[in-house]
Amino acid sequence: MFPWSPEFVWDAGHLAFFGAFYSVLAAIAAVLGLGLRRAVADARAGRAHRIAWHAAFEELPARDRACRHQLTGEAPGRVCDNAFDCRRCAAHPSFEALRATHASAVPATGPAGLHLPGDRLYHRGHAFVRPEPDGTVTVGLDDLARRLVGEAEVVERPRPGMCLEEDAPALRLRAQGREVRVLSPVRGVVIGTSGEGAAVTVRVDPEGPLDTRHLLDGDEVGAWAMREIERLQALLGPRELGPALADGGELLPDLGAVIPRERVDGVLGEMFLDL
Amino acid sequence: MTPLTRRDVLFGLGGGIAGTLLSPLPWTVLDDVAIWTQHRRALPIPRDGETSVRPVACTSCPAGCSLRVRSVAGRPVFVSGEASHPLGGGACPFGLTLHHLAHHPLRLTTPVRLDAHGTPTRVALGAAVAAAAGALRAASRSGRAVLVLDQRPGRAVSRAFRELLAAVPYGLYATPDGEGATLQVLSGAAGGPLGIDLEHTRTLLSFGAPVLEGWGRPGRMLALRDRLRIVQLDAWRSPTAGLADEWLAIRPGSEGPLALALANVLVGEGLARTPAAELRDLLASFPPERVEPLAGLPASAIETLARSLAAQGPTVAIGGGDPGGGPLPLDAERAIAWLDVVLGSVGRAGGLVARGSLPDDGTAPLAPETSLAEVPDGDVRLLVIAAGDSGRALPWSALGRKLAPQALVVSLSPFRCGLTARADLVVPSPAPLEGHEEILPTADACVMSYAVTAPLLPPCAESVEPTRFLAELARAAGLGVPSDGTHAERLQRRAAAIFASHRGRVLVRGDEGFREEAPADAGAFWQALLEGGCWVDDSRAARAVAAPALPSPAAVAGWLRAEPARSDLPLVSFAARGAAGGTPPSPILTKLYQETALRPSVATIALHPQTARERGLVDGREMRVVSAAGRLDARLRCDPTLPPGRAAMAAGPDPAALHEQDAAPARGALALGVVEPDLTWRGTRVAITEA
């Protein structure tokens, strides 16, 4: 096995055989070493939550990765490649530039009776961000999320002083007997939390100037909400029934309760992008 | 000094490990582990020591082949035949494992009492002797017989037995019928022992005698094989039949009529001397055409064979039977003997010649030698089975029928197997290689010879020389004989008598084979014998032979009677010499009987494929084999070399029993053998059905 072991002979056969063998061992060791080193580096640099989010995003089927500009009809069929972070998207600014006006006054009611106030920005994981006058923001569950979780219990709320990371879990709720993690839409330091159940909100002092380019606002919100209802419908039933919703009627206030028990976990995970 | 950091410790550790790996240490340890794995199951590790080589003689059968034993540190480890021995070299597998016998699981080292299942319980020698003496006295009182069965007659210890029996009111000294039966018939007529002058024989006609696989002194046959034409008349393709120049497959039990038919042709065609009128009348009843259906041979084949016997003479015809098949009926032997007479083989060179006897070495009266068959049934109160093996099978029922009620059976064999397994008391004599042994000539030998081997191993403390047992028995029973003296002293006395006779030659072992030497005195002669030498008598002049007895009219009538068609099959029983006798085969003989296909095992019964087909029996299946004497299960082995219409089964050994610590119940042909009043069991018939 080694040049000094009794059977070893310095001939072509031995050299080729053991050359290959040790190369393989070296390659395996190198990959493991490199992987470990990079993982440690990632951990040190605090990239864990980013990677987790990216991994989860990777698992989303293409239809769940629809670009916000697809929702509005600006770019039909466009799928997001940037883990819903429009700040990194090369195309996003150009789409933004194309928009004639940036509507600021938005009706508080979304499709199917959803309450989606215009003073809020929406994360794809159904958390809203409401900028407060003092420069902080309030983060909470949007109306669809609240209906989905229904009578929820906050299992874990961030402690003041904790740093929330973007797309990393901010809250853990227990709803319909299942656990849901609500992804944080912003990065910042937690000041405090208030509210119980689905109405829980977190007050966050954003780190640096608040950059909300990746959050949905304005006209997009309605289209997105419509799309989310469709997605919910698709998760639960035949796709053809989706559009029927748009025709009228109001979503049940305790939406989560009507979801079949065995589907609840999956539906909550999909809707909260918590896979 | 700077304090050690964790980094330093890790570096140190890593360097240490790398350094150790580069040193030979771990790799040597690994190599040693490799060796340890070899011995993890406590394999025996034989001790080494000084090597020595000693001549001994094999005692497994009467052949008494000369052996050389290689010992290491005093323990024998390898046995080989003495290739250049003047009486014939070489050894068979049984001889090559002689050194295992003292260590055999069936070996007995103390006197024991055996219960009905053969389970031994230790008894004191005194108690055993007292029990035997009691039975001896009871026999004397009730007029019952004291019987000694000696399977190796002619030894000094045989003489001691006969001296004792001569002092008993009704003492019988019996020897079983053996391979020299034909010669015995002729010797009886000639008034002295005969041997075969094989060195000058051209054709050997064997009626089922295993002449090429342990018959006579095998070394002699091997040396003569190329010069001898061997014609085998056998009911199955025995090893000898397979190797013979010619094999004629005959029907079991047709030896007698066939011998007479051959004589008929010889006489009828004027190829032989004209016999007496009474024989002529007898021969007239056995023309080849008449014998054709009896022997299963075409008349033309019988005629051709007869002519070739005359043309390629000198011819010797012998019977004697197979060691596992038992003797031929006496009448068949008489017919064969008459064939020899008709062939003119008696008393001529290349035929049957006279053999000398050992000079007498005692004066005490001796009980006469009788055939076991002549002992009346139910008449024996004390049976002593002498140590010493004929190498031939003997079913227990042959002995058992001789016993009176409450008979005591004492065996002097060191092995709890064979007949000894049925004994009440065993007083074990020393195992092979542990005592002095005498080697006498085999039945076929044409000159007398004598050899002695010294013990190679120290005898086991509680084993008892038969001579000593006899002395103690005589003392306890109040008999004056046998005369005192240890076994070795008796042998020495014998040697002295031989030396004093000034007959024969002394051949001693040298570096370059054997050479003749003239010992200065009886002591030097004794010493030469102990060192592997042997004494060979001078050749005798041919002895004229009176006519042997004719086959009995009853037997002749039986031969001529047409046999009714029967559904059961005649059983051909066979075994190699030493395989089914009183000496247990070494367990290593599984190599021949179990681990290779060389020799058939008792666990199988052979049929011709056609015979099996006719009976709807499938090759390889378990069969139930039933005879009038017993039943057993065996696997069917279809053997195209076995003639149709018969079954063949080995009499021993049982490979399964080779592993056992306990004597297993007899399996194989011996358990099936139906023993006739003449103590043959060749007429056994078996019914075979699928188990």
């Binding site: 096995m1 072991s5 009794p6 059977e7 056969g13 031995h14 055989f17 290959a20 063998f21 393989v24 061992l25 390659a27 395996i28 990959v31 490199l34 992987g35 470990l36 990079r38 993982a39 990632d42 951990a43 864990a48 990677i51 987790a52 991994a55 989303l60 089927p61 293409a62 239809r63 007997g177 299942r178 656990e179 209802i229 419908q233 698709a234 998760l235 639960l236 039933g237 035949p238 796709r239 919703l245 009627g249 109001e250 979503l251 939406l255 009507v258 979801i259 079949p260 028990r261 065995e262 589907r263 976990d265 999956g266 999909e270 918590d274 896979l275 | 190599d31 490799a34 794995t37 993890r40």
Partner: protein, 424 residues
């Protein structure tokens, strides 16, 4: 009980059978595995006399099993090679499943090998005293290395489990390992090429067994290359077949039909090449190699049950036939042809390994040798079935708790038919 106790462990959003049904499914397999483990224990504790192997049939069911599962497990390396090196992105849909299958096949094979050798404690001797000229040395080294590689390929899939991936350290390691997977794919392909080949060489070098012996191209007998090719051809078929079975058992679409078709196409094309080369090899062997060794080739097929039908079955019925189906775009599109063809391709490689292992040993070499038969003992059979059960159990667990088919989530919506009124 509709709630699943293990809900927190299964991939979120992917419907899985109720735990009770899953447990009921596992019970017989686990029982079989238990019996297999017991049989294996007997062989280890009491020795190989527990088997019906003997001095003449020194290799039997186990070696046959090893050769076959390793050939089928080639799906792992070949899919990896196609995906990571040749950039066939569609195969991402089955790579996880292929890796798990590969791991099952190789670990099962190694486990059986450990029982099969007389002195398992000396397994390391091959590394310590290797004879580099022996095909078995090559096999041992490659098999061990590749099992390690497969374990590290399997690891990220396990780490992606819903619960495990919550642990940031595991997640990060998984993430980095996954990014380096191309190296593993390359190393795995290298190792696989060699040991698949060496397994073929194992028999091809046996000059004492003219039935198996093949002449050498370079330093390797032709079986070396044929085994590589047949394994590469059967591997994708095996992935296809297992995916289809998993899909049927879970009554769920796991991959898109295009993926099936791609696997079938790859398998078919390689199979065509294999059948071609195998035919050439067989002709050379029958007409040149074996006469030169003094054996008339008809003797190989003179003993029942191994008649010339064996050749036909191996090359035509289980080689050419699936090859034609899989190469035809029209038939490939129809699952009624595609799936049976994949099974046939797998059966073909299994038959080939059977012939190489069993017929080679059954045929006499010496003129006076008999034709030998061998029937495995229950210990052999049960440890064989134990490996199958181990595979089913591990695959079932992997399927349930890991995300083996990334397209499953995507295909989910079109599958579901429950109608739930969401609107008041």
């Amino acid at each position: 009980m509709s709630e699943r106790l293990d809900e927190g462990l299964t991939p979120r959003g992917l419907p899985r059978a109720p735990l009770r049904r899953f447990v009921l499914w596992l019970v017989p397999w686990t029982a079989l595995l238990g019996v297999g483990l017991y049989a294996g224990y007997r062989c280890l504790a009491y020795g190989l006399n527990e088997t019906n192997l003997d001095n003449r049939f020194a290799f039997g069911l186990w070696i046959y099993l090893d050769l076959t599962v390793i050939a089928l497990g080639a799906g792992a390396f070949f899919t990896g090679l196609l995906l990571y090196v040749l950039r066939k992105r569609e195969l991402k849909a089955v790579i996880n499943s292929a890796v798990v299958l590969g791991f099952i096949c190789y670990s099962g094979a190694v486990a059986i090998l450990m029982i099969d050798v007389g002195q398992p404690l000396r397994a390391w001797f091959t590394f310590w005293h290797p004879n580099v000229h022996s095909m078995l040395t090559e096999v041992t080294f490659c098999l061990t290395c590749y099992l390690v590689v497969l374990a590290f390929e399997y690891l990220p899939i396990v780490l992606r489990n819903r619960k495990l991936s919550r642990l940031p350290s595991l997640l990060l390691f998984e993430h980095q390992l996954h990014k380096l997977m191309v190296v593993f794919a390359l190393v795995g392909a290298f190792l696989s090429f060699f040991h698949q080949g060496s397994l073929g060489g194992l028999y091809g070098v046996l000059q004492g067994r003219p039935f198996a012996f093949r002449e050498a191209l370079a330093v390797w007998p032709s079986t070396f290359f044929l085994f590589i090719l047949s394994a590469a051809a059967a591997g994708p078929s095996f992935v296809l077949a297992t995916t289809w079975i998993a899909s049927k058992l879970s009554s769920r679409a796991l991959v898109r039909p295009e993926v099936y078709e791609l696997l079938g196409r790859v398998s078919g094309r390689l199979l065509v090449l294999y059948v071609l080369l195998k035919s050439v090899d067989t002709l050379v062997w029958l007409n040149h190699t074996s006469p030169q060794l003094g054996i008339h080739p008809a003797r190989f097929y003179a003993f029942d049950p191994f008649g010339t039908w064996v050749l036909f079955a191996e090359i035509v019925a289980l080689g050419l036939l699936p090859a034609l189906v899989l190469t035809s775009a029209r038939w490939r599109r129809d699952p009624r042809f595609l799936v049976p063809a994949a099974f046939l391709a797998c059966a073909g490689v299994a038959l080939n390994r059977f012939i190489m292992t069993v017929q080679t040993l059954a045929l006499p070499t010496l003129p006076f040798d008999p034709f030998l038969t061998y029937l495995p003992s229950w210990q052999e059979t049960m440890s064989f079935l134990g490996v199958v059960a181990y595979g089913v159990v591990l695959y079932s667990l992997s399927f349930r708790y890991l995300n083996l088919f990334p397209q499953e989530r995507e295909l989910l919506a079109s599958e579901e038919v429950t109608h739930v009124p969401l609107v008041a």
